[in-house]
Amino acid sequence: MPTRQIFSIFLFACAVVALSLVGLARAADSDGGDAAALKEIRSEMRQLREERKRDREVIHSLEIKVQQLETKDSKVETTTQQLQSTDQKLKETTLELQQTNAQVKTLQTKVDAPIPSPEFGDAISRYLGTHSFTITGAAGGNFVYDQQSGALDGLHSASQNSFFFDWEPMILYRPTDWILFEGVISTAFGSTGTGVDLSTADFQIFLNDYMTVVAGLFDQPFGDWYENQSPMWVNRFVTAPLPFGVEPVVPPAELGVQLRGGAQFGSLGQDFDYTVWGGNGPSYTSNVLGAVVSSPTAVANSQTNGKSIGARFRVYPLPVDSEMGRLELGASTYNGKWANGNWFNSWGVDFNYFIGNLQTRGEWLQSYRQMPNGVGADNRQGWYVQGGYFLTDLNIPGLPGMLNSYLHRFEPLVRYSGVNQRGVSTDDIAAGTGVGQGGFQAGLVPDFGINGSPATYAPHSREVALGLDYWIAPSIVWQNEFDIELPRSGGVFVSPTGAETPAGSIPNDRAFLSQFTIGF
């Protein structure tokens, strides 16, 4: 290798070394500056992180505050809505109060106003005279459908598919303010033609606030049925309950004298009343077991030579202002002699309760009839319970108002009644009893006020009656009744000679009765 070349290489190497050393020196100088910068950067980054952390904390704190504010705002909004609603209600209530006040003022004005026109009333009274007179009562037409399924132990049976009409005018005559005459005549066209019967005819003398004398022919004041429930527009059903039907437990009327009255014992509506009476006493269609106890006018009391006495006490414990309804509790007894001194005794209890649209009532009664010639006593029991509900407050959603108003006039009803007695007279079954309204009821078919189908003559009769009344006015009603007879076995049928035959099969009859009645 030439020297020049070696020298060149050497120089080149020296140059490289020199340059490297310069680079290293420069690199050393540069490393010192970067570390400081890096430190500064790191410091700044730490600061930034701390600031960021603080910022986050601040943001979190602010978020919490925002949430709290939002919650508060929501509550404020709800409270505001509630306040607005309350304010609206207050306005409506104020308006209602104003209307009520106006109505009260109107009513107060009416109440405080003088009682109307004494001059005109006096003039009319003078024109009419001091003796006043009016006619009330009831009239009704009905349709009866009773397709009987069979005969009653081989006795007579019949079917009914007919219209009837009944008119029962009541005459009231008032000669003075303490005397009243009352007379009721029943006239009807029934299954045996036209009949007329004198139902009641009596004087009522008002002795004082607590005593009234009634003298004449009157409905038996035993329990509630005969006196208060038998008028056709008052009875919720077309027919009478079984104890007051073709086989009555006590006589339906009496010829005699009553003393009666009532008084208040507590608040307004808390009353009690009493009735005591005496009369010609019970009579029967014949002397045999199971004969029907008769109205005084039916047999003219030929079966009796003794008098009767009776008493009834009723109490109404609920005050009018209690708004707990009206409750009546009563107890009755009626006793006398028939057929040469044989005893007749009876007693019963009754109730009546109504509140709002609900009406319920019921009676339980029992009689003992001493029989002549050593025959065992002719004991009888009867009862009924019934309920009805006016649909006045029923509104079916979606039904037009007019249809709802028609619906309000309906009153669905149900009644369960029964009679237990040892025997039934076949004469009464075959010939009819005459105890019905009009006094001509022929037996074995329904008639006015009475379901006389064969099953009601069973010694142990039972009946379920379903009713649907449509009230056109308070005393104008269209009544519909479906009777289901459910007689029990037992008891005897008694021939006119007194021979007794065990009661055999008795058809479970059904009957439909529809009646339009006006009370006037």
Partner: protein
């Protein structure tokens, strides 16, 4: 027989006495009229509905209510004071 005769005489005297007393009850003050009207308005739906639907006063002439209320007083054994309230209410309509 003497006892029966005496009882009839006593009853006749009693009827005459109390009947005359009852007749004097017609004259009442306007304030009493208003009290009777208010009581009658409370009693009317309760007493009448005990047996049958309550019938409005304008169904009958006032003089007819005099008779009908006497009839109902007997049937319902209504207290005499309440009867006066009822008739006042029904006649005022």
């Amino acid at each position: 027989m003497r006892k029966i005769f005496a009882a009839i005489v006593l009853a006749t005297l009693a009827i005459g006495f109390v009947g005359a007393h009852a007749s004097a009850d017609e004259n009442v003050s306007p304030a009493e009229h208003r009290r009777l009207f208010r009581d009658g308005a409370r009693l009317w739906p309760v007493y009448c509905n005990t047996c049958h639907n309550a019938r409005p006063g304008d169904e009958k002439a006032p003089y007819e209510w005099n008779l009908i209320i006497m009839h109902m007083r007997t049937l319902g054994n209504l207290p005499a004071g309440d009867v006066r309230a009822l008739v006042e209410y029904l006649k005022s309509r």
